[in-house]
Subunit: 322 residues, 2 copies
């Protein structure tokens, strides 16, 4: 009898945990934007992992990378992963315009490019609203983010310096370097007009710059190049040019490099030496200005170093969050 109760409790717990990890939404109302305008009936998607402790001191905020969803963050959460959810209550949040939170692709009142241009400051604002007003969390242990998530992390530590104890921007930037601006400008140009061509070019930019040529040549054959491109050209799933456009514009407008004086959190900055998507200069400088701990991933996977060197990265972040 005792045994079957514990089994039932176990199943219940599993159900609760499984449910928590599922997609949830909060409606935060109209979101006024930094540079004017408003996102109407703003919706923020999120998922939670782990259990909030009694004194609410174990919250880790984990925003998504560009084009990414909280569904895709699952692989980075758990024992031995980037963020351990056995000790932390992880709130993974869908960034604006990722197709889950309010986006050109899902807004009824502001569809397609009638969806306003917003900034990563606005994205962070939407997350602050979710945390404080909906989840009633006024302080978190840490904000951790990868790539555009790292950019949001830089924005977080400047916008709300006292909101977190620690922060870990990973292959992010406080302000895009010239090379990064050029890359996104070119991608914006590529996303215009004919959808098939846009898909092929969008895919090609990713392939050309997410890793280094050395790594790419090691992984791909000449034949695969053409097959991959043809597949990308015809793959309509999940591709929404307008969502990408608004996120790119948000990244390009990021500029908190001069606000380093505001930072109160203890920060671990992670960059990748051969990162060709988020070049490491601005994050490295920022780390020096605030006296943050800096880790430079040295491998030849470029921006994908967070996967290729995940073991070292996960250990370092786990240590830092202890």
């Amino acid at each position: 009898m005792k045994r079957s109760i514990s089994v039932i409790c176990g199943l219940l717990l599993l159900t609760v945990v499984a449910h928590a990890q599922e997609q949830q939404f909060a409606n935060i109302g109209d979101l006024k934007l930094q540079h004017g305008g408003v996102i109407r009936n703003c919706r923020v998607g999120y998922r939670t992992f782990g259990t909030l402790n009694r004194d609410r001191s174990n919250v880790v905020v984990f925003p998504t990378w560009a084009g990414g969803t909280t569904e895709q963050l699952k692989g980075s959460i758990g024992p031995g992963k980037l963020i351990d959810s056995t000790s932390h209550f992880v709130v993974a949040i869908d960034a604006l315009s990722n197709g889950v939170s309010s986006s050109p692709s899902n807004s009824r009142l502001q569809p397609r490019l009638r969806f306003p241009i917003f900034s990563l400051r606005d994205t962070v604002e939407s997350q602050h609203e979710l945390l404080t007003r909906v989840l009633k969390i006024d302080h978190v242990k840490a904000v951790v983010g990868i790539s555009m998530g790292g950019m949001q992390t830089f924005q977080w530590i400047v916008s709300y310096p006292n909101f977190m104890d620690k922060a870990v921007p990973i292959v992010g930037s406080p302000r895009l370097a010239p090379y990064d601006l050029l890359l996104w400008s070119a991608q914006l140009e590529a996303l215009k007009r004919d959808p098939n061509s846009a898909r092929a070019l969008d895919f090609a930019f990713g392939e050309l710059l997410l890793t280094t040529p050395t790594d790419y040549n090691r992984r791909k054959t000449r034949e695969e190049v053409f097959a991959d491109l043809e597949k990308a050209r015809n793959d309509t799933k999940r591709f929404n040019a307008n969502d990408k456009i608004r996120q790119m514009q948000a990244m390009m407008s990021l500029d908190v490099a001069r606000d380093f004086g505001a930072v109160k959190a203890k920060v671990l900055v992670v960059v990748a030496r051969f990162d060709h998507v988020v070049t490491p200069g601005p994050a490295t400088e920022f780390a020096k200005l605030i006296g943050a701990k800096l880790i430079e991933l040295e491998g030849d996977c470029g921006h994908l170093a967070t996967s290729c060197e995940s073991r070292n990265l996960n250990e370092a972040v786990t240590d830092f969050l202890k």
Copy 2:
């Protein structure tokens, strides 16, 4: 009197030399193509520098890079430059589809994309015709080429193994690596766009990949990125998408990697470690297979290492040609 004669002779010589460096053309008739088809009334542009010696043993063939003309090769010819024209008779040759030799932009009988797809084998063939039939040169001291000129050099040493004593393919390739194929595929896609978008994307690909992000970020400000792109978008000079398309297709079809056994020339292979346009793998392997001398440029200028490290490069090539 003696003095004025020598002055007159000097002036005459200068005139001859100056004239020789000017654009010249040879009509080599219909050029049958490797994979079928024909370039009708094929015209090959060239310029000569220096003086052919009596035993015709000082000829150096110097084909153009992608999109380049013999006009642009001038800067690489002369004392202390890549090829010294005081000791060599340099025949700089305009590659097919560069807008000077027969090209989609200048062919009356086969205008625009009615100009047939050709290979770098055909390009070399057009140069062999020029040299043997028009200039009556049956053997040369060396073939030297940069980038697509380096690719033509690889094709030369395999197509006509006994034609040259030496060869120097510089940041070239005997067969494009997967990364390079992806880059050209993406550029081909970009060139299909409307002209302004094509120009902007073509420019962006060049800026993103000709050098490394580190070097780009050192040279450019954030403001310049946007100004450069806007300028490229509106710059109609010299931009002919069809010429570029046919040259890209020629590069992509190059494949002499397995023909290393044919090579008779003494070869110096030059690659750049961080070259993101012509990645160094295939040339490096080829050099090892034929026991050639290999120089790896180590700087962070990527494909532009031939400029950034020109002093070392020029010295090495000058020594090799001695």
